[in-house]
């Protein structure tokens, strides 16, 4: 331990404290079970958009994108574009109907639309599985960050994030976390934006060197390595996964139920598009400057580029302050995404597991939520402790492939096609979930290699998404006698504006 760990320690302590204080403040106005799960559905578009942005910009966005861009160049620009364009797809196909469906969670939507307990249970399992797959890299990333900035053992960072998340989520639920998330969006934006101005000034003063001079030629070509047919496949598969995967992320979907109505849900989504666009312009600047000032990081420690670039380019007190700022932003990224995921997983667990009657014993709504939150955090925390070396952006990318192959077809067909049947939904979810799940397990368990098989398993969305869609449509046509009787009325509820007086 020496003096250069001070900014990191101060930043982590301040962000954790601010999160807890804002969470406690929200507690004072969080009283009912409805406050807990959906903030009583009264969150206005601007606040809600900041909260969604804060929750969505995870460690993968804050640290991972700049690092990947530094190493691989323009091909990695598809990650931030896909993560933003996913909201456009969500806006045009899902946002307003999803809000008007009036359900709390994804399993609620599936049950309301299809009238089947079986579909509900399958969706619950998927939400919990995807939530844990997404929480795992957040905890691991926190460990890496604390090791890089203050030299703490890796388990310490994971533990700090888990404890703060649990402490801020359990007392106030969705209502208090909405303010925390909104605060964390603006913190993350500031933490990247302010250093950029200083770093660009230093770059200009140094003579504005050309970042591409030292980079390989592939750095300016937005196609996945190794190029050719495989590169084209991998690029388009990533586009499919990110464009469609966003709408099925449990922590994103749950936020849409907090809008007052369908119109507000649309406006919230548009605001999110703007906020994400502003944020994602910044990581490429770090990557370009990193090519000039920190090319050695491209070798394997690229994830710490954002954390170390300020101190490499600017020395002294200013460098220390900027380092503290980016550390604070990174920590906010872990906290906000983990909180959102914890809420989503706990929401499902408390409805389907901890809130049920166990023998003669039954927990109340809020108590069941708190127990569920503890389970939602502890399981991925324990999983993250033994394996500390899975790439953050890679695991998050795989989670997108799974949601794109399961919830995206369910939502799109459920909202726009009356003919969907419970059997069709179950078959499609199984095909998409098992297909992409197998690919994910294979990719995480083996070392990457060249060739088509490896490319198709490493980026499964381009085949698993069509397979899931096709299965849902074909099986639904085969079982068309079991189209739910209330499908027509449910369409009225999903698509008609609230201002029109109808029975819903």
């Amino acid at each position: 331990m020496s003096t250069d760990v001070v900014p990191g320690v101060v930043a982590v302590v301040l962000v954790s404290l601010a999160t807890l204080v804002i969470g406690t403040w929200g507690l004072r106005i969080s009283r009912t079970t409805s406050d807990f799960f959906v903030a009583s559905r009264t969150v206005r578009p601007r606040l809600n958009a900041s909260a969604i942005g804060g929750e969505y910009l995870s460690a993968a966005s804050f640290l991972g994108v700049a690092g990947l861009l530094l190493t691989f160049g323009a091909e990695m620009l598809w990650y931030p574009i896909g993560w933003t364009a996913g909201y456009l797809v969500l806006l045009v196909l899902v946002a307003a109907p999803l809000r008007r469906s009036g359900a709390y969670t994804l399993p609620d939507f599936a049950e309301a639309r299809l009238g089947s307990r079986g579909v509900r249970k399958l969706c619950s399992v998927l939400v919990v599985g995807i939530g844990w797959l997404y929480l795992l890299p957040q905890f691991q990333g926190a460990g890496v960050t604390l090791r890089s900035t203050i030299g703490a053992p890796t388990w310490a960072g994971s533990l700090v994030v888990a404890v703060v998340v649990l402490a801020s989520v359990s007392p106030g639920g969705m209502r208090s976390i909405t303010f925390v998330q909104a605060f964390q969006y603006w913190l993350k934006l500031t933490a990247l934006l302010v250093p950029v101005f200083v770093l660009l000034a230093v770059w200009l003063a140094d003579g504005a060197a050309d970042p591409t001079a030292a980079a390989p030629p592939s750095w300016s070509i937005p196609l996945a390595s190794p190029g050719g047919g495989i590169g084209l496949y991998t690029t388009y598969s990533l586009i499919v996964a990110t464009f469609l995967g966003t709408m099925g992320l449990p922590h994103v979907v749950v936020r849409f139920y907090t809008n007052p109505d369908g119109r507000a849900a649309r406006r919230t989504t548009l605001a999110v598009l703007g906020l994400l666009g502003i944020f994602y312009v910044l990581p490429p600047v770090y990557a370009a400057l990193g090519r000039i000032y920190a090319p050695e990081l491209a070798g394997g420690r690229s994830d710490v580029l954002v954390l170390e670039l300020p101190s490499l380019m600017v020395g002294g007190a200013l460098g220390a302050v900027l380092t503290g700022l980016v550390t604070a932003g990174a920590f906010a990224a872990f906290l906000s995404t983990s909180s959102g995921l914890t809420i989503a997983v706990a929401g499902v667990l408390s409805q389907d597991v901890t809130g049920r009657r166990w023998g003669s014993f039954r927990l109340g709504g809020v108590a069941a939520f708190r127990v569920a939150a503890a389970i939602a955090v502890v399981v991925p925390l324990l999983l993250s402790l033994p394996a500390q070396d899975v790439g953050v952006a890679r695991t998050v990318g795989l989670a997108f492939a799974v949601t794109a192959s399961t919830f995206a077809p369910l939502l799109m067909l459920g909202i726009w096609w009356r003919g969907l049947t419970p059997a069709g939904a179950v078959a499609g979810l199984l095909v998409g979930g098992l297909g992409s799940g197998f690919a994910v397990a294979w990719t995480l368990a083996t070392s990457p290699s060249d060739g088509w098989a490896s490319a198709m398993l490493g980026q499964p969305a381009a085949w698993s998404v069509p397979a899931s869609f096709l299965t849902m449509v074909v099986v639904s046509r085969l079982t068309r006698a079991s189209v739910p009787a209330h499908a027509g009325r449910f369409m009225v509820r999903l698509h008609t504006p609230e201002a029109v007086e109808l029975q819903r």
């Binding site: 456009l88 045009v92 030629p217 300016s220 666009g277 698509h495 504006p497 007086e501 109808l502």
Partner: protein, 131 residues
């Protein structure tokens, strides 16, 4: 000091919802799931779905074509606008305002459709009951 408290009076507001009799025929047709109500619903759904598909097509024909273009014409990788490589300018900067423009266009049109729908079911064959 034995003043009587004032007589209690029940205070009521006007009814929140007009009685069913005066509701426009359009909404009644939809609620009763008649063939006419079905036509209303199908036309709303089709308009909104086609609008969504148009926006997605615009997205696919612009952003979605970029990998193919760079695959077919690898020399685009050497193109520069000012100091910036073309790919970085298109994907790192210009893509985001374009997404916002598409979203803004969608919201405007979608809300137009919903207003038209509300006018339609609110007026068709309405009994013009006094309000």
């Amino acid at each position: 000091m034995s003043e009587q408290p004032p007589q209690r009076v029940r205070v009521t507001g006007p009814p929140r919802r007009r009685a069913d009799v005066v509701r426009p025929v359009g909404t009644r047709e939809i609620d009763a799931e008649t063939a006419l109500g079905e036509v209303f619903m199908r036309s709303l759904l089709r308009e909104q779905l086609f609008l969504a598909l148009r926006v997605l097509a615009a997205l696919g024909l612009t952003l979605g074509m970029l990998p193919l273009l760079f695959h077919l014409f690898p020399s685009l990788g050497d193109e520069r606008v000012g100091q910036m490589p073309l790919a970085w300018l298109l994907l790192g900067v210009l893509a985001y305002p374009w997404l916002v423009v598409l979203g803004w266009f969608y919201i405007r049109r979608a809300e137009d459709h919903e207003r038209d729908f509300a006018d339609l079911v609110g007026s068709v064959g309405s009994d013009e009951a006094p309000s």
